[in-house]
Symmetry: C2
Subunit: 428 residues, 2 copies
C-alpha cells in the first residue's frame, strides 16, 4: 500500500509538529490493549482453524450463505467478500427491517441449500432478531426447527445475551465476538471471517495482510506509519475546516469499503459535537455526479482516493467507428487504461481547484491488501479518537431511538418512552 499525501494541503512539517501527540496516541492505545480493554489489535494473530472446520461442516449440505446482521455485523463481511470475489450470486444479507428486503432475499434462495449466519454482538439487535424470527416463520412449511438449526451459525458474545442462551440450550453451532471488540472493529474476528471463508475468501491471507499492517501501524515514526499519517492528516484538515471526509475508491469491488469506512469513522468519531462526516463516493461514476461540487463547491472536504494498480481482468475496446472523431481516441485502449486516465484527470483537476486529497494505491485487490486496509483504517480511527479527545470505541447516542422503538412495540419496561415519544413527534 502506497500513501501519497503530497496534495493533502498538509505538509511534512505540520505532521511532524504533532508527532508527539501521535506517539502519545499509540502509547494510549498500547495501554488499552495491555489492559485488554481494546481487543481489535490482537485479531490478526487469531487462529482460523475453527472457522475453516465450521465452513467445511456447513458446506457439506449448503451452497448459499444468508448473513442476518446489520451495521458492524454485516458491513465488514460484505466488503471483504465483494472486494475479493466480486458480486456473488450465492451470498445474501438480511440487514434492514424493510419487508421488501426480506421478500427479495427469501424469493431468491432455496432455503434448504442455505447456511444462515445470525450475527449480533449484544444478542438482541432488533432488526437481526426480527429477520431471524421472520425467517423461522417463512421456513415453517419447508423445514422444521431441527432442520433449520442444522443450517444455523450464530455469532455473538461468548457468554452473555439471549442469542448465546439460545445456542447453549439448543446446541446451535456458534462463534464469538470478543467482548472488547466493538462491532465496527470486528471484521477480522469470527464476525467477518466466517462469511468470508464460506464464500471462498482465504482468511489466513487476510490475517497475514492485517499482521503486516499491525507491524507498520505501531511504528512510532509518524511519516512511516500509514495509520498515523491518515489520522494526522485528517485531524489537521479538520482543524482547518474540512468537516467532510470523502472516501472515493476507483474500484467497483472496493465500493463497499467506503460503506465500511463510513460506519467506522462516523460512529467512532462523531461525538460531543465533534467528528468529520464521512461521505461515500465511487470513481469514475461520481465524476458524473459529485465532482462539480467537490471542485467548485465549498472547500470543506478532504478526499481519499484508493486505486488498484493491477487489474485482474481487462477489456479492449473494439476497433470500430474509425470515422467518428470523438470516439477514435479510445480505439486501441483498454477499459483499465481509460479508468486510470480518469483517475489521473480527477487528481489533476483537484490540484487545480485546490481540493485536498490523499491517494492510496494498492498493487492488487486481494485478501492480503484487504487485511492491510482494514487494520490500517481501524488503527487510524482509534488514534483519531485520541486526537479528538473522545472515546472511539463506544456509541452512546444510538440508544435513544432504540428505546423509543421498544416503547412503541410494547417492550416491557419502556412504557414511559412511548408516552415521551408521542409528546415529541406529534404531527399536529
Amino acid at each position: 500500500m502506497k500513501l501519497n499525501y503530497l496534495h493533502a494541503h498538509i505538509d511534512r512539517s505540520e505532521l511532524l509538529s504533532i508527532s508527539r501527540h501521535l506517539k502519545e496516541a499509540l502509547s494510549w492505545l498500547r495501554e488499552l490493549v495491555e489492559k485488554k480493554e481494546v481487543g481489535f489489535t490482537e485479531l490478526p494473530f487469531s487462529s482460523t482453524e475453527h472457522i475453516k472446520a465450521l465452513v467445511e461442516k456447513k458446506r457439506r449440505f449448503t451452497d448459499t450463505l444468508v448473513l442476518i446482521g446489520i451495521g458492524g455485523s454485516s458491513l465488514g463481511a460484505e466488503c471483504l467478500i465483494n472486494a475479493v470475489k466480486g458480486r456473488c450470486s450465492s451470498f445474501f444479507v438480511l440487514d434492514n427491517a424493510d419487508p421488501d428486503k426480506f421478500a427479495s432475499v427469501i424469493s431468491s434462495i432455496d432455503l434448504r441449500r442455505c447456511c444462515f449466519n445470525v450475527v449480533s454482538k449484544s444478542g438482541s439487535t432488533a432488526e437481526t432478531i426480527a429477520n431471524f424470527m421472520a425467517l423461522i416463520e417463512a421456513a415453517k412449511d419447508k423445514m422444521g426447527w431441527e432442520e433449520l438449526k442444522k443450517r444455523l451459525v450464530i455469532t455473538t458474545d461468548p457468554e452473555k445475551g439471549s442469542l448465546r442462551e439460545l445456542c447453549q440450550k439448543e446446541s446451535i453451532d456458534s462463534l464469538s465476538v470478543p467482548p472488547n471488540v466493538a462491532g465496527r472493529y470486528s471484521v477480522l474476528s469470527d464476525v467477518g471471517l466466517f462469511p468470508a471463508e464460506y464464500m471462498g475468501v482465504n482468511t489466513d491471507k487476510t490475517l497475514n495482510g492485517a499482521k503486516k499492517a499491525h507491524k507498520d501501524t505501531f511504528k512510532d515514526a509518524p511519516l512511516e506509519n500509514p495509520a498515523l499519517l491518515i489520522a494526522g492528516i485528517h485531524w489537521l484538515s479538520y482543524l482547518k475546516g474540512k468537516t467532510i471526509s470523502v472516501m472515493m475508491p476507483y474500484s467497483e469491488r472496493l465500493s463497499l469499503f467506503a460503506d465500511w469506512f463510513r460506519q467506522l469513522w462516523a460512529e467512532s468519531l462523531g461525538k460531543g459535537g465533534r467528528g468529520q462526516t464521512p461521505v461515500k463516493a465511487l470513481g469514475t461514476v461520481d465524476q458524473h455526479s459529485q465532482i462539480q461540487l467537490y471542485n467548485d463547491g465549498p472547500k470543506d472536504k478532504i478526499i481519499t482516493l484508493i486505486s488498484v494498480e493491477k487489474a485482474d481482468v481487462d477489456f479492449k475496446m473494439g476497433d470500430v467507428f474509425e470515422e467518428l472523431e470523438s470516439f477514435s481516441y479510445l480505439r486501441g485502449h483498454t477499459l483499465k487504461e481509460l479508468f486510470d486516465a480518469e483517475l489521473s484527470g480527477t487528481m489533476g483537476a483537484f490540484v487545480k481547484y485546490g481540493v485536498p486529497f490523499i491517494h492510496i494505491s494498492i498493487e492488487r485487490l486481494d485478501e492480503e491488501s484487504m487485511g492491510y486496509l482494514f487494520f490500517t483504517y481501524e488503527m487510524a480511527t482509534a488514534v483519531s479518537g485520541f486526537l479528538y479527545g473522545i472515546n472511539p470505541f463506544d456509541q452512546p447516542a444510538v440508544e435513544e431511538g432504540k428505546r423509543f422503538a421498544y416503547g412503541l412495540l410494547g417492550r416491557p419496561g419502556f412504557e414511559e418512552k412511548r408516552k415521551e415519544l408521542e409528546g415529541l413527534i406529534s404531527t399536529t
Copy 2:
C-alpha cells in the same frame, strides 16, 4: 405526498419572510420555460407512444436490458425501476469504466437475449462510448454488427453528436434527450422512460404523478407548494450553517432515490463556493452506522426522511422463543411494524438531540408517487438555484478532469493537457 416540516427548525414565519423570493424564483423559472431554455418542466406532458412501440419491438426477441450510460443517463432509470419493481435479475447497468464491472455484467447475460440502450446526451461520454466499444469487441464471436445493431437503442441529442451521426448512418433505433434538459433532470424523458417501460414500469402512470406535481409545484403560495417548501427550508438551513443535506429514505426500494437526489443537488447547486453536500443514507441500516454522528456530532446537517405508509408485502415474526425475554416483545409483530417503530424512534431521538429534519410520507411506492417525487425534487432544485444565485442547469467544473484524461489517452488537440497534468500530479 405529505411533507411535515415541524421539526426542521424553520418555522412558518421564516418561510413566509422569504415568500417573495420564492415567488420570484417561480417567475424566473416560468420565463426560462417560456423561452424554451429550460425543458424539464414540459416532460410530464410528453407522449409515451413511441417508447411503448420501441419496447414492444425489442421485447419480441430480447428479455434483458443492459443500460450503457453514467450519471444522469443511468441514475434516474435505475432509481425508478428499483422503486417500482425492486431488484430485477434482467436489468444491468454498465456505467463505470472499471473492467471489473464490465466483467461482472458480461458474465451474467446472454448477449443474444439483450437489448442494449446506449445513453449519452452529448453522444461522446467517455465511459459510455468505451463500454459500448468494449461490448462490440466482446460480442464479436457471438454476433456480428448487424445482429448487434438490431438489439441497440441509442438515446442522445436529436441532431448533434457522434452517436446521432452513428444512428443516422447505420439506421439504428434511437430516442432523444431534449437539448434543453440537463442529464440530471432527464429521468422523465426518453432517458429514464425507455428503460423503465422495458422493465415493466407503467410510464404513463409515472408521468401522471409528475403532472400532479407540476400542478402543485407551480403554486405561488409557498406553504402549499412542496417544492418551495423543500427549497425554502434547505436554503434557510444552509444560511444557519447546515452545510450537509442527508437524504435518508426508510425504504430499500427508495435507496437509489438518494443517489439520484445526490447528483441533482450536488451538480446543480455546488458552484462558486456554495452548495450543500448531499449525503445518502438508508433507514434502518444507517441507524447502525451514521446515527451516532447525526445525533451527537456537529450540528451541520438537515435530514430528509422519506417513508412509505402501505407496504406491498409484509412478514410476521415467528411465534417462537417465548422464554427469551429480550426477543419476546417482537412476537406477534410484523417486520413493517418494527420498521415503522424504528423510524418513529429515530425521529424522537432527532428531536431530543436537536437534529433538524423533514419527513416526507408517501402512501404507496408506485409509478405515480415516483413521478411526483422526481418532479417535485427537480422543481425544488431549480428554485434553489435561484435562491443561491447560481445556474442550476450547468456543470462547468466537471470538464477539467475530462480534458486531462483526454490528454493522457492521446486524443488529438489535448496534447498540452497531458503535459500540464504531469506538472500537477508528479508524485516525487
